[in-house]
């Protein structure tokens, strides 16, 4: 369906985002929360739901959840209550998920999207942020007729961030997700990677005639594996709903699954009647009563958020608005830049290098900035060497390339490769004398006072030294060598 065909309808979107908290151990047991281990090896009586085992909540998970809630301007509830969400699924070992229901950790926050482009900013309400645990992993396509279960992830701590239905287009939903991801990453709450499953998005979407205020019947769209898939799924589901409504039909409240390859949403076949979750307060966990002083401390210690960093960096490092925006898109990149800028004492060079060489190198290597072989202190030193004339710009690029490969510090690479500028008189004198001998005509004219030839002769020396000669010294030495 074309955009024109839906023009008289308005999309209404709210998002539910599950984010895995960056803890060492699981939410309710001390098993490692790392993934990548052989199946069912990061398990214990608690996360296997063995008879008799009991949950004990991870303090750091609470701290990270609080950070997220506070970064999203939420009101933290001094007392929140864990509840059991009961349903059967083979990767849900206890037969219930420990979650929060009618008394969540935090409520009533917001974030603002569209501040940086030409659109009017949109304030998207955050209904709630609550804590819960993840299920395990079901693999359906490994064995015929069977599902394979790995419980390594079962019990890993999550927060669920539920937004108000405040978004009006797929693009707004995309902007919300990108900003949310940026904030959570800055706050150090999560790795927020959809590929690695540490961020997952479900969307509630409905359609209504433009200008009306009553919400239409919504569907829940699941199974999107990237932000752009979310945007495409929303557009597709919206178009489906509009077509239904236009034909005089009604939208059924149901769960839709996004089929990326087909580019369409389809009703989930899981039975709706089984969705009576029978929530009740988790009797194994007393209410979570927070020391509000601690909450305050957690709030004060939240790392700088994107907005603040953008403003500070623009001012401190004299960056243009566009450069600041580009740099702070990723928390890791901006932290890297800042470290290089400080180490090199040359923010301008740091900016050029980080946006240029560094970006290109991490893209080529397919790594994140945290995994990048060249540590910011080393890059800073490299830039300092250029500034101090120890390295020429050309040589610096060659040193950097070796640093990317080896992770070695710049001085060591330069020495090993013999790329450091040579200021040693005897070597310079040798090259100068050779140049004067090999170019007798120019040498004579220079001796006779044609000083503009100085540049030509220095250039020839540089060439002979393969760029290693220190040009300042060559300039000093040339007149006296010519006279001798």
């Amino acid at each position: 369906m074309s955009a024109a065909a839906t023009a008289d309808y308005e999309m209404v979107v709210g998002l539910e985002v599950h984010v895995q908290l960056k803890t060492r151990t699981k939410a309710f047991c001390a098993c490692s929360a790392d993934f990548g281990a052989p199946p069912n090896t990061n398990v214990c009586p608690v996360c296997l739901a063995l008879p008799g085992a009991l949950p004990v909540l991870n303090r750091h998970a609470v701290e990270l959840a609080l950070r997220a809630a506070l970064a999203l301007e939420c009101k933290v509830n001094e007392t929140s209550v864990f509840a059991r969400k009961n349903y059967f699924y083979p990767d849900l070992p206890k037969g219930y998920q420990i979650s929060q229901y009618d008394r969540p950790l935090a409520e009533k926050g917001w974030l603002t999207i569209g501040e940086l482009d030409e659109h009017t900013p949109v304030r998207v309400g955050i209904t709630r942020v609550h804590m819960e645990e993840d299920a395990g992993k079901s693999v359906h396509d490994r064995y015929p007729g069977a599902t394979a279960i790995d419980l390594n992830r079962a019990g890993v701590p999550l927060i669920e961030i539920v937004s108000e239905p405040d978004m009006r287009s797929a693009a707004e939903a995309g902007a919300y997700l990108r900003l949310l991801k940026q904030i959570l990453s800055y706050a150090g709450v999560s790795d927020v990677s959809m590929e690695e499953g540490s961020l997952r998005v479900d969307a509630n979407v409905s359609a209504r005639i433009r200008g009306t205020t009553k919400l239409g019947t919504k569907t829940e769209v699941k199974n999107m594996n990237s932000f752009s898939a979310v945007e495409r799924a929303l557009d597709s589901e919206f178009a489906r709903q509009v077509e239904l409504l236009r034909g005089g039909g009604t939208v059924q409240q149901q769960t839709m699954l996004w089929h990326g390859t087909k580019g369409e949403t389809r009703p989930s076949r899981s039975k709706e009647e089984s969705h009576d979750y029978r929530y009740f307060p988790e009797p194994d966990l007393p209410p979570l009563v927070l020391d509000m002083e601690w909450v305050g401390r957690v709030g004060r210690e939240i790392p700088e958020l994107p907005d603040a960093r953008r403003k500070r960096m623009a001012e401190e490092f004299k960056l243009s608005a566009a450069d600041a925006e580009l740099l702070t898109a990723s928390a890791g990149m901006s932290e890297y830049f800042e470290a290089v800028a400080r180490a090199s004492l040359d923010p301008k060079a740091a900016l050029n290098w980080v946006m240029g060489e560094v970006s290109a190198a991490i893209n080529a290597a397919g790594v994140t900035i945290d995994q990048f072989a060249v540590r910011p202190a080393d890059l800073g030193e490299l830039l300092r060497m250029v500034r101090d004339d120890v390295l020429s710009h050309t040589a610096a690029k060659r040193v950097f390339a070796r640093m990317v490969e080896t992770g070695k510090p710049p001085a060591q690479v330069a020495a090993e490769e013999g790329l450091q500028k040579i200021g040693d008189d005897s070597a310079l004198v040798g090259w100068i004398d050779e140049v004067l001998r090999e170019n007798p005509a120019e040498a004579t004219r220079y001796r006779n006072g044609e000083t503009k030839l100085q540049g030509v002769l220095v250039g020839l020396v540089m060439k002979k030294s393969k760029g290693r000669a220190d040009p300042r010294k060559v300039n000093q030495l040339l007149p006296e060598r010519a006279r001798s």
Binding site: L50, P51, A53, L54, V56, L57, F280
Partner: protein, 501 residues
């Protein structure tokens, strides 16, 4: 001069002595733990603990028990203090996780399941020198008051083999009553330690909720469950509770409250103690034999210098309805993990995963467990939650408030009958709700979370009758003080017509 007794004879005698004497003898090298283990197993054979008769144990492991006993002997030899239960044979209810022996909860769904970890209470027993000799029979998942609901057949009452031992900790109560062990662990959700203690003529303690770790106790009603202790005497249970009590980092509901030495509460007199007699626990229709024994116990309290005061706990009559909403609701969720995926029974089915779930749980659960899981699922389901679960939890608040009020009014402990009747015959109670009424005097303590103990207060036609002492939260000391006094005062004071059982 008489020759010193042969070690096995000594061990047999020790088994009938108070725990302190038994343990002292072991520590001084007078008796070997392995002899005590042998004596316990011999006694089990003598009394007919086996399946065809009393059916007390679901598993025993004589070889391993003997091995642990020998390890203990080595520790004693090296003077590494083996603790307050050194060498004592102990039986553990089958819903408490132990290594090596199965933990089945009396259910087919866990037939043959051996826990790969051990309950905190079992670790503490071992650390204090106890030797676990077996796992005791119980109502399936502790749902029952007679031990007739075990998937492995009922346990019988050693006092009268035609009668039930009570339940759900019937096997543990029978093991103590039959003289096989001095001490056994049971568990309580609505009276499952006190009621069988009362039926079997022994002492049973339910501690304050949070006093003892639940880690490794297979959950039935999580907000009600506590591990309890069954023993021959108040002193034995006090020693047992001291060993297993205390905060546990693996149980978020275990309380960080210091554990006193309960044994020190032994006093000749109870001067100054105020004992409440709550009228709701002495209804019109109370079995006159039970009522009479209770009055005698109250007289004994008065003689010891205690004041007996009439009090009221007005919401008592709601205990059973509240209990039978809250416990099944929690159970329906707690038992969801028995799905055939990770451990225990799996019954294959033509119809995929759902078929496997349904067949496994249909075959794995007995009728009472099925009934309660259904009941619990129903009261939590959409549309019924407020009317049942939320309502029950609100009334529960009022029941707990009753206790708080009465203890704030200056009453130290309450004294009530433990059960409305003595032990009934196997198969005598057929209606589920009638069976639920066995817990009528005990469930309130679980709902309020307060500690309570059942002490033998006499017999009727040879059948034991128990009296219950209830104290305020973490006031086990007061509870034990009253219980010690009562036990001593009643010792050897048989009423005419009580018989000699």
């Amino acid at each position: 001069m008489k020759p010193p007794p042969r070690a096995p004879d000594l061990a047999r005698k020790l088994l009938a002595q108070p725990l302190t004497e038994c343990v002292a003898c072991v520590r001084e090298g007078g008796a070997l733990p392995s002899d005590l283990v042998s004596a316990a197993f011999d006694r089990a054979d003598d009394v007919g603990a086996g399946r065809e008769s009393l059916n007390i144990f679901l598993a025993t492991d004589r070889v391993r028990a003997t091995e642990s006993a020998k390890e203990l002997t080595a520790l004693i030899g090296r003077a590494e203090a083996p603790g307050n239960l050194a060498g004592a044979p102990v039986a553990v209810k089958d819903n408490i996780a132990t290594l090596h022996m199965p933990t089945t909860c009396g259910s087919k769904v866990l037939e043959g399941y051996v826990s790969p970890y051990e309950a905190t209470v079992v670790r503490r027993l071992r650390a204090n020198g106890a030797v676990i000799i077996g796992k005791t029979n119980m109502d399936e998942f502790a749902m029952g008051s007679s031990t007739e609901n075990s998937a492995y057949g009922p346990t019988r009452n050693p006092v009268d083999i035609r009668r039930v031992p009570g339940g759900s900790s019937g096997g543990s109560a029978a093991a103590v009553a039959a003289g096989i062990v001095r001490l056994a662990l049971g568990s309580e959700t609505g009276g499952s330690v006190r009621q069988p203690a009362s039926f079997c003529g022994i002492v049973g303690v339910k501690p304050t909720y949070g006093r003892v770790s639940r880690y490794g106790l297979v959950a039935f009603g999580s907000s009600l469950d506590q591990v309890g202790v069954l023993g021959r005497s108040v002193e034995d249970t006090a020693i047992g509770l001291e060993v297993i009590a205390g905060c546990d980092q693996l149980d978020s509901t275990s309380a960080d409250v210091p554990v006193p030495r309960y044994e020190l509460e032994k006093n000749a007199r109870l001067d100054g103690l105020v004992i409440g007699k709550p009228k709701e626990y002495y209804p019109e229709g109370l079995d006159p034999r039970v009522a009479e024994r209770c009055e005698r116990a109250l007289d004994a309290f008065r003689e010891l210098g205690a004041e007996v005061r009439d009090v009221s706990l007005p919401h008592t009559s709601y205990s059973i309805p509240v209990y039978y909403v809250v416990a099944p609701a929690e159970a329906s969720s707690n038992l969801a993990r028995f799905d055939g995926v990770r451990y225990g029974l799996r019954v294959a089915s033509e119809s995929g995963l759902t078929g496997m779930y349904e067949a496994t749980r249909a075959r794995g659960f007995g009728p009472e467990v099925t009934r309660r899981v259904m009941l619990g699922t129903y009261v939590l389901s959409a549309g019924y939650y407020d009317a049942y679960y939320k309502k029950a939890q609100s009334v529960r608040t009022l029941i707990a408030q009753d206790f708080r009020d009465v203890f704030l009014s200056g009453v130290d402990v309450l004294f009530t009958p433990t059960t409305p009747t003595p032990a009934f015959e196997l198969g005598a109670v057929k209606d589920p709700y009638e069976m639920y009424l066995s817990d009528i005097f005990t469930a309130s303590a679980n709902l309020a979370g307060v500690p309570a103990i059942s002490v033998p207060i006499g017999t009727a036609s040879g059948l034991p009758i128990g009296g219950q002492i209830i104290a305020g939260h973490f006031e086990e000391s007061a509870m034990f003080r009253a219980a010690f006094g009562l036990e001593r005062a009643l010792a050897g004071k048989a009423l005419p017509g009580e018989g000699s059982a």
